[in-house]
């Protein structure tokens, strides 16, 4: 965003509060909502990409070696990736630990 959301004045909004800047959801870092984080066991991972497909936040990215991992800046810790992983290689770990 050109400006942080809490500094935009009402006159600066587009008519109808239309958002014309593409992909500005990136500015909203939802990782702070998380109480659990997904941890991938790379030994077990078969690099199928099911977690990448199911992540509702589109926060799972492919690592250079072909494994998949959550971007913790955005991951809300919903656990859908761990639930859907066909080989069970993703474990949800409490952020308190």
């Amino acid at each position: 965003m050109a400006k942080p959301m809490d500094q935009i004045t009402w006159r600066e909004l587009e008519v109808g509060a239309v958002v014309v800047e593409v992909g500005n959801a990136m500015e909203y870092e939802t990782g702070s909502w998380r109480s659990e984080r997904p941890v991938v066991n790379r030994e077990q991972c078969i690099k199928c990409g099911v977690c990448w497909l199911f992540c509702p936040d589109v926060c799972i990215v492919r690592a250079p070696e072909g494994h998949f991992e959550a971007n913790l800046t955005y991951c809300k810790g919903c656990g859908i990736c761990a639930k859907e992983c066909p080989v069970g290689c993703i474990t949800m770990i409490s952020e308190e630990e």
Binding site: W10, R11, A17
Partner: protein, 392 residues
Amino acid sequence: MPKVRKGVEVSIAIADAVAQADTDVIAAYPITPQTHIVEHLSEIVANGELDAEFVPVDSEHSAMSVCCGSSAVGARTFTSTSSQGLALMSEIFFIAAAMRLPMVMALANRSLSSPLSIWNDHTDTMMVRDAGWVHIFVENGQECYDNIFCSYRMSEDPEVRLPVAINLDGFILTHMIEPIEYEDDETIRKYLPPFTMINALHPDNPVSMGCFGMPEIYTETQMNREHGIRNSYPVILKAWDEWGKLTGRYYRPVETYRADDAEYCIVTMGSYGETAMEVVDTLRAEGEKVGVVKIRLWRPFPYDEIRAALLGKKSLVVIDRAISFGGPGGPVASELRSALYQKKGAPTIVNYVAGLAGRDVSRKDFRNIILEGKEKARRGETEGFTLYGLRG
């Protein structure tokens, strides 16, 4: 369509106007007393006389949703509803205004259930008074026809971009056969050229509409909205003025009849204005110094014109067609009390609620209301409201 004067049902004239306006999308669900409007439009589209999408939806909620979608891509959009239909679409009705989506609705005013009633009053439209739509009240069939074009002009203006509702009294207007002057297509094309939606949905220029708004931004979006509807006022005046220059039929936010030298006035909205004028003529002949003030533009509320017309009068008798239960009584009287409060020369206001759910208000009733209201004002009986004709 050539310029022609013909006897036609008002609903049919509205449908013909929507077709003449080269509307692109019509989405509606039939409900009494609006049905003839969309029924005739579906015929016009099915006959190939209008190149438009007619979307026969499964409910009014869907109707307004389709209208939002079509307006968002920049299609000229029309819908029509009444009463329970408006209630069902109310969720999306508010969203249309908040997202500043131009469209026109013929709102055939009808009472809300319960008890179930299909007849006319203004309880349905008052439910959505604060949604942020422009609300126009019309008095006869000609005004319905004319205001379809004027409403599109207002709605699509890049400075406005708001949905506009034309409030017409159900049955009293929708089912009335009247002589109506149609303008020729060339005049309409000149007055209402195709419109371009700024920030329309298009794959080449992606935008997001109706986003999630955090507490940090919601307040700003609401001021943007409030500013939008207040700013529509000069555009509304211009749209009516240009229509007047083309056709000779001029409209104003507040219209008066024999009110300039009147000591007191009767205030109405909608089709009651016609009866009020007739009764005022009779009373004038008897020496009563009474006039009529008709509110045509309900939102944005025309404060300046209201004050210009009403300050200095001794009293006002305001006829409402809805009740704000447990509150101030009639919404129109409440608005006038607020607009005139603490202003120099503010008249005494007496409020009647009459004609609920189609109960006939005849010339005799108007006469009673005007004369009785004048006496109430003289005696200072201005609290609350009187439900005219109530038994017991």
